[in-house]
Symmetry: C2
């Protein structure tokens, strides 16, 4: 490791930790946990990811989406904020961590395809709206709990008279200060001549500073008893322990799976983007293992599910993080916070943290992707919209299930439509091309086909239907040649299907032949007693053989309609 | 309709109905319903399928797998045999019918790929074992309920002393008579000179006759009070009504979906096999609608989920059924049974029906497919075994979920591995082939790639990784040509991915170009501002253009390692 790398990782850790302190408190509240549990989620999980993860700049810790999914998963079983609730969060982290870890060792990185990018974007956008709506009650002190987004809005609107003015003023002033800081802090420090790491530190600590200012003013004004604050934060490090067992946990397994998978898909796409910038390859399986270790350690240290956070990862990358060691440095700094800063955090007003969530989450609403989808692929736009409104009306858990069903449905639908070409010979060459797109030569009573896909259960029926339809006009003594040039894998369903095809064609006096069969496929066909079906090295060879055979028989006509000259 | 067709449909209906009478009573018991409900499931559903389904010989009605899935779905909520249980079965039929009908109109036939053939075979085989184990208690009169297959076996073994001897003798003698009839009835009648339809009728009615003989002997011997019988069967037709609503029904929706989808996948593969024999195309969407209508009518007429039955379909086909009208004739015959035969059915011993189930179900255990899988594709064999043991240890519902996860996982895994070739030019031609398999010409500092798949979210990451890896050695002024000959569809994720690829390559001084882009894809690329990326009609054209460009610069060396001659 060069000194350059070390410096980059260290300064990135300082900047990220300054963002992480208020965010981890806020996201803990979003998950229904006591605020300090968010700090626990920012120590060991970071070290866990550094042990098994590989991304140079992915910043792991509490994130909004995983937190709101945790809240929704626990709500049917426990009371928010209770010890049982916290234990349930630990179980979710442990279970999703274990699932991700096992998936990683099984090399299940391909499950990223469970959610397409537009569906994920629609899901995150819908969840962002739900999260922001959820903050209104903390920012106004109006009690609205449960129900869909629309129901919550309605309750808020009908209870406006019960608003807590101190809370509202604290929330709104934090909100405005955060927006001002975001827009002007960087420019201000820059025009004051601040540069480099110091500029980064001053800019990224501005949310923490703004919340501190609001807190100080609130305490100084003596109104701090009139609004909810973080309250007593235990000083010291989290204990390593398993959560007490509960029979409700069997009902949480599906939720743990969903939280883990969604977190992985979000993280791995960030990791890929980072990898391209840092010019290192991304290994989806290593990301699974890294996030798995992070979540297991989160659960063991009293916290809830974590994953890679978007805003902190961007900052981590900008600030020069070059290895997962940046996360370890961040974790060490957080230990300092846990040991020393507890008493200062107690006075933070919850309304300020809610304002922080709104400002941070608004960036997740992704109408850009919806616009792109409308432009490039209407079906994708439909997926975005269905998932978005699905989340708003059904909640995050059923929303993501709907999204997975949509994405998987899309894959199955695409798979079931392999491209199949009827081919002919380009005159004067040995090459075969689609008869619909080239001026090619064909032979009477013979069909040359090429399937542009591996043959397997999800497309075999469609392939067979196409072959049946195309071979309809063929007569006795006809020939079907299947070019296997694009087939590099074939499963049992397709092998049995080919056996059936050869048998059915034979019954009609038609000969099936293969051409350009790859080695491993050839072996499988032999084991399936399909070796007796002729296999030509090239389609051209098959063409010439059939041409010669057709010239041979006593009857000189290219093909007799009655087909009496067959030898069975 | 020709007279031939009509005769075929009519005689098939007679033969199938003779099988249907005892089977529908037995499968109703398997679903935990009063036996006569099985008769209800054999009237209107057959007419529903005939209205919207298309298979010439698929015999719809109560089947073993759907019945055992119905039992498992209802067990957590109601008491077997109670009116609430029957109402729950009606709801399952209505809900799964509605789902299938909607899927059919949405043209969702492709969802057949939710289960691969080996996984379905493993599932059915596991369910067959569970069903057979479940019959032991009816055949011995020993009370074992609930638990996994292994727990049930254990309970049976430890309670052997409470066996009801009358029940056991009735069950075993029916079992032996059924086996004898299956093996010898056909031969016996044939050697007696019986031929044609009469032979069919005599053979296929033998199970009914055997059960009748056992019943008569039992009643004559006076032991009929010592064993459980079907009991009072209401005479008359089912009433058309909706089930009374219950809050438990929300918990049944997933089960209804699974029962519907599994029934559809079973049926459509039978329908395809029948279609090939009868030489008519199979429309998966029409099958969805047919089964949807059948199930909705089943639910409305007081019965439970139905689907296409294997044994009856085979017999239907053999007996000459040529249109779905055969099912209508069958339904009319069943009306006769409902109106007239109730009093005769009351005395049927349940142990005889259990014996009938065992004999019928044993044929579903499909070790042949497992053997084929082991021979052709080890992964498929793994899928069979995991699903088989999954069903035995987790039950049918979780077993089929596991199977769907396995199948969908397989599709995603295959999708994520598209075949990508680095190409070169076949000397003296305009054709490009894989450099690993042909002796081809390449250009320095240029890469010709062909992706043999549509580009979309499930494979884009892998494609990008491959391109990144292959372009690593390229230097400034390099060229990448992507042959789009196999790409006939592209989604938003891939469009955005191509934008990113063009941008990243440009930053390295490398030019991206496309060749052989199809019309619709070309339009999408233009909308994505990828039009500025050169698009050549053929890869050959691109090759010549790059060759000419490389010959042009002042430095005559094909490529300078330092790449100083770039113009940015």
């Amino acid at each position: 490791m060069t000194g350059d790398t070390l410096t980059g990782d260290l300064s990135a850790a300082v900047v990220v930790t300054l963002m992480l302190i208020p965010q981890s408190l806020a996201y803990a509240l979003l998950a229904g946990m006591p605020a300090h549990v968010g700090l626990y989620a920012s120590v060991l999980p970071l070290i866990g990811y550094a042990l098994l993860g590989r991304s140079p700049a992915l910043a792991v810790g509490p994130v909004a989406i995983a937190s709101v999914m945790t809240f929704d998963a626990l709500l049917p079983f426990f009371t928010p904020g209770s010890p049982e609730w916290v234990a349930g969060g630990m179980f979710l982290a442990l279970a999703s961590g274990l699932i991700l870890l096992v998936f990683g060792f099984l090399r299940f990185g391909f499950i990223a395809a469970l959610l397409s990018h537009p569906v994920m974007s629609g899901f995150v956008s819908g969840a962002a709206i739900l999260i922001i709506l959820g903050q209104f009650k903390t920012m106004t002190g109006i009690e609205v709990s449960g129900g869909t987004a629309m129901q919550q809005l309605h309750k808020l609107a009908t209870n406006l008279d019960s608003v807590n003015m101190v809370t509202l003023i604290v929330g709104l002033s934090t909100f405005i200060l955060l927006l001002l800081a975001r827009r002007f802090a960087g420019k201000l420090f820059k025009s004051a001549g601040v540069r480099g790491l110091l500029l980064d530190i001053l800019t990224k600590s501005s949310p923490l500073v703004m919340i501190a200012i609001v807190t100080l003013v609130l305490v100084a004004s003596g109104f701090d008893a009139d609004t909810a604050t973080v309250g007593a934060v235990p000083t010291g490090l989290p204990l390593i322990a398993l959560p007490p067992m509960s029979s409700a946990y069997t009902g949480l397994v599906i939720s743990a799976l969903l939280i883990g998978v969604v977190g992985f898909i979000e993280s791995v796409s960030m990791a890929r983007a980072i990898g391209r910038i840092r010019d290192v390859p991304t290994d989806a399986d290593a990301e699974l293992r890294g996030l798995g270790a992070a979540n297991m350690l989160s659960g063991l240290s009293g916290a809830f599910p974590v994953t890679g956070g978007l805003s902190r990862s961007v900052v981590n990358l900008d600030a020069g993080a070059r290895t997962p060691l940046a996360g370890v440095f961040s974790a060490i700094l957080m230990v300092g916070v846990l040991l020393g800063a507890g008493q200062y955090l107690a006075a933070l007003p919850l309304a300020s943290l809610a304002a922080l969530i709104i400002v941070a989450i608004w960036a997740l609403f992704d109408w850009q992707t919806l616009r792109d989808c409308i432009r490039y692929d209407r079906a994708d736009a439909g997926g975005w919209l269905v998932t978005f409104f699905g989340v708003l009306s059904l909640g995050v858990e059923h929303g993501i299930m709907l999204g997975i069903a949509l994405s998987v449905g899309t894959v199955l639908w695409r798979q079931s439509r392999p491209h199949i070409a009827v081919m002919g010979r380009l005159p004067g060459t040995e090459h075969f091309r689609n008869v619909n797109r080239h001026d090619v030569q064909t032979l009477p009573n013979a069909l040359f086909l090429r399937v542009d896909a591996n043959l397997f259960f999800a497309n075999w029926d469609r392939v067979r239907d196409f072959i049946d339809q195309q071979t309809q006009p063929l007569q006795t003594d006809g020939h079907v040649v299947l070019s296997m040039t694009s087939v590099s894998d074939i499963d049992t369903t397709a092998v049995e299907g080919l056996q059936g095809l050869a048998r059915d064609l034979k019954a009609r006096g038609i000969t099936l032949a293969f051409s350009e069969v790859k080695g491993p496929i050839s072996d499988k066909l032999k084991r399936a007693h399909l070796a007796e079906v002729s296999s030509y090295l090239s389609t051209h060879e098959a063409y010439e053989a059939i041409e010669a055979a057709q010239a041979e028989p006593p009857s000189e006509a290219p093909s007799e309609p009655t087909g009496d000259n067959t030898s069975r």
